[in-house]
């Protein structure tokens, strides 16, 4: 079995970090475009939908607590079917990692390193990903603690300095929403933000040392995360105004450009962007680690072979696809980079639910050990 042990506090911090994986460039412009000034309604409904999602997640998590998701699939389905299902799951998670890192690299190349070819930025971001992939989940847990500490400090600094420029009247008109737009934004938000956190199913419940506090810590982490997302939306709309936020692709970055404290701390958006680089690299490396665990469980490899195989079959194809996709920054449809992640996440969610339901049915007929 997996020998690492993590505490429930660390687990909830990993959960919280993964909720942030697709925010930059995917969620912020889309929700602001669809719901305009009634984004708070979409956020409120998504919060409730998220509670339902977490309920489902906890059910799957508590079912067969000593196995991770791949071993659960192995125990439920017959041999070859389980291998096919695991491979499909792994390839879907691979696509999520590709999209997250692609978004980060296009962001960096459009705002900072304008003339550097995307290839080298991709290689630069791939170095920490590769290094984090070599280790196990307890290292990832400590990395999550650090990422969230930095994110919290930078978020507080930015929010407090931007508070003087907040203009509440930008939040009006308050109630110009209609069902179709709100519904679309709720669906996109719910799937794109919450499903990456479901990937923590790869850590079996047995590896968590004090699992009685787990439910409470996950709920607290979820609430804190939704509050901070709401705070960021609030700051974007009130400082910039809804019209300007609609024309930019990365409004969470543009709002930092107006930060000006004491007239000499200006233009510090380059340093505040560390938050997003940290969080998205974390999500990418978690997805790659997910696939490495899958590889290990599927083919029953020992430790050294897992490393070599994971480099050959996971990291190198990942790098190849990133390098191929990087130059294509512009899609014809304005929001294609929202519909593709939504569909992928919906499929992953559907797969998890199907696995759980079939697992319950199989469990009734014969006991799974």
């Amino acid at each position: 079995m997996n020998r690492y042990k993590i505490s429930s506090l660390t687990f909830s911090l990993i959960f919280m970090c993964l909720l942030n994986s697709s925010l930059l460039g995917i969620i912020f412009p889309y929700i602001l475009h669809e719901s305009k000034t009634s984004f708070y309604i979409s956020l409120g409904i998504s919060f409730l939908v998220g509670l339902v999602f977490i309920f489902i997640y906890l059910k799957i998590f508590n079912f067969l607590p000593d196995k991770d998701i791949f071993e659960k699939i192995d125990a439920i389905f017959p041999k070859w079917v389980s291998k096919i299902i695991s491979l499909i799951l792994m390839s879907l998670v691979f696509m999520i990692a590709v999209i997250v890192i692609w978004r980060l690299v296009t962001f960096i190349s459009s705002e900072f390193l304008i003339e550097t070819p995307n290839l080298f930025i991709g290689l630069l971001i791939a170095a920490p990903l590769f290094y984090a992939m070599l280790y196990d989940f307890d290292v990832i847990g400590r990395l999550a603690t650090f990422c969230l500490a930095v994110a919290f400090i930078l978020l507080m600094f930015n929010v407090i300095s931007l508070f003087s420029q907040v203009d509440i009247s930008n939040l009006k008109p308050l109630l110009n929403f209609d069902l179709m737009h709100t519904g679309k934004s709720v669906i996109v938000f719910a799937f794109v933000v919450f499903v990456p956190a479901f990937l923590t199913l790869v850590i079996p419940k047995e590896n968590i040392s004090d699992s009685t506090k787990l439910t409470k810590s996950i709920l607290v982490a979820y609430t804190l995360e939704m509050i901070s997302i709401g705070l960021i939306f609030f700051i974007i709309v009130t400082v910039l105004g809804i019209e300007i936020s609609n024309i930019y692709t990365f409004p969470s970055y543009v709002v930092l450009k107006t930060l000006s404290v004491l007239s000499f701390i200006q233009n510090t958006e380059n340093i505040s962007i560390l938050v997003w680089v940290l969080l998205m690299t974390f999500s990418g490396s978690f997805c790659l680690l997910f696939m490495k665990t899958g590889l290990k469980d599927l083919f029953n490899l020992d430790k050294k072979k897992t490393q070599i195989f994971s480099i050959l079959f996971i990291f190198l194809p990942f790098l190849g696809i990133i390098i191929y996709m990087l130059p294509y920054e512009i899609y014809l449809n304005k929001f294609k980079y929202v519909s593709v992640p939504t569909l992928i996440n919906m499929s992953i969610f559907g797969m998890f639910i199907i696995i759980y339901l079939i697992g319950i049915i199989v469990n009734k007929f014969k006991r799974i050990t």
């Binding site: 660390t10 900072f112 290292v139 847990g141 400590r142 990395l143 650090f146 233009n267 380059n270 680089v277």
Partner: protein, 490 residues
């Protein structure tokens, strides 16, 4: 000398071998006392390591006091000797190998018929208890360990007067045969760590070990990392504080420092003086040390990234000022930084090696070179001198030399990455540093405890320190056996 485990120690053979040895070893003394006719008691000692006074006063006096004729012709030699010669440390010698070991450790060997005994008559070949040279102290006890094994153990025992303080001895080194002592509190320390440490030490197969710091490469081979995972200290009060926390101290004869295992990242920012000042002041100092550590690593890289890639962070007047300064220098910023950094390393290394007599001329030379002259010659710009000096001064905060290795390596890596990619490169280098820190394990426990698997209960003594009356539990990650400090454990 051949390895002979012969229980039957033949006096004549031994003496012949020793007389052959005397050819290469003129400081070997073999004295033959005849307390009676045809009775020979041989006294063998090495003049260099044993003290002549003790040999004279105790052993020779007794034997020469025995009358030549009659009385009790040493029927039971061992019993007679045991009762009459006042020496507390008295060992039986069974093998030839251990005979030579005792001889070189300063013991006097007494041979009669075929029985061999060894008495301790060690000479004091060390400097006595002095002030610590490597860790200066303002407040608190000023004694430090010496090269004498027993004195070191004595300095620890007089501070922890508890029967639970255990000492286990191991001999390491095929030629040097140095005695290594492992001390720990058996009611606090975890047994698994002690066993692991002992097995690691017993596996060492080497000619000779000169100092306890040689062990660092043998112990704790779990990670390939530059961060130090073992702490050495010269001060007994620090050692006792660590022992009471649940750690292990490894001491060795001929070595004035003691190794402490396991050590975590936050321990390198603590100092013993923290406990002798008020909590607010010592928390402030600890935070300054943390800030200094990160400043030492990131300042040159951040500066290079700002002036070559992201100049918009600077206000306009500063920008104009820097441009004027940098226009006189023909090199790009990264080359300038490397040249200056290299000069600082040379200065630092030279200062550590020269005796204090030459120290003043070296500092004048350094100040001249790096001060006005280089700036006016047009090789470097003044702002770069300031940035590199800030980084170098911050690294001098750490007396512990092993930390310097980690600072130096990561400084250069971050500088190179930020010269290639700007702020983004700096961030990626920083992430690499953090992943490296997170992946280190010492004796099976994560290195970044109690910060990274965040333990709320241990924060009272990690980054900041609370009042000592409120820290009434030992660190939970070390002393799971016995957490509460005031309880009298039997």
């Amino acid at each position: 000398m051949s390895l002979s485990h012969n229980k039957n120690m033949n006096t004549k053979e031994i003496l012949n071998e020793l007389r052959d040895l005397k050819m290469k070893m003129p400081d070997l003394i073999i004295k033959d006392i005849k307390p009676g006719l045809f009775k020979h008691v041989y006294i063998i000692t090495n003049e260099a390591v044993s003290s002549g006074d003790k040999v004279n006063d105790f052993i020779l006096k007794h034997f020469s006091g025995l009358s030549i004729v009659g009385s009790n012709p040493l029927k039971n030699f061992k019993r007679d000797v045991e009762r009459n010669i006042p020496s507390i440390n008295f060992k039986n010698v069974d093998t030839r190998e251990s005979l030579l070991e005792f001889l070189f450790s300063g013991f006097t060997i007494v041979i009669y018929k075929n029985e061999v005994i060894a008495y301790e008559t060690r000479a004091d070949l060390d400097r006595g208890v002095t002030e610590p040279t490597g860790e200066p102290v303002i407040r608190g006890p000023k004694d430090s360990f010496t090269e004498n094994y027993n004195k070191n153990i004595g300095l620890i025992r007089k501070r922890i007067k508890s029967e639970h303080l255990c000492l286990e001895e191991v001999t390491i080194g095929t030629q040097s045969k140095s005695k290594v002592g492992i001390m720990y509190m058996e009611n606090i320390c975890e047994d698994a760590i002690v066993d692991k440490l002992k097995t690691m030490l017993e596996k060492i197969n080497i000619d000779g070990v000169m100092d306890v710091n040689n062990f660092k490469s043998f112990i704790n081979k779990e990670n390939h990392t530059l961060f130090p995972t073992l702490l050495y200290t010269e001060k007994p009060d620090d050692t006792c504080r660590f022992l009471l926390d649940g750690r292990i101290a490894v001491t060795m004869e001929n070595s004035p420092s003691v190794l402490i295992a396991p050590t975590f990242f936050v321990d390198f920012f603590h100092s013993s003086e923290d406990y002798y000042h008020k909590p607010f002041f010592s928390s402030f100092l600890r935070l300054i040390r943390f800030v200094a550590y990160f400043l030492a690593i990131i300042t040159p890289a951040l500066f290079i990234a700002i002036i070559t890639y992201d100049q918009e962070i600077l206000p306009v007047s500063l920008l104009i000022n820097f441009t004027v300064q940098r226009s006189q220098v023909p090199f790009p910023a990264i080359v300038e930084a490397f040249v200056l950094m290299f000069t600082f390393e040379l200065l630092y290394e030279g200062d550590a090696r020269t005796p204090s007599i030459r120290g003043t001329s070296l500092s004048i030379l350094g100040a001249l070179i790096l001060g006005d002259a280089a700036v006016q010659a047009g090789i470097i710009s003044p702002i770069m001198v300031i940035v590199i000096a800030v980084s170098a001064i911050s690294s001098l905060v750490f007396i512990y030399y092993d930390i310097q290795g980690s600072i130096r390596f990561w400084r250069y890596v971050l500088m190179i990455l930020s010269a290639l990619f700007g702020i983004v490169g700096f961030m990626c280098g920083f992430i690499l540093l953090i992943i490296n820190l997170c992946s280190i394990k010492t004796f099976g426990k994560p290195y970044l405890l109690p910060l990274a698997p965040f333990l709320i209960k241990d924060q009272s003594n990690a980054l900041v320190r609370r009042d000592l009356t409120k820290i009434n539990k030992r660190p939970t990650y070390l002393a799971r056996k016995n957490l509460i400090k005031e309880v009298n454990v039997k």
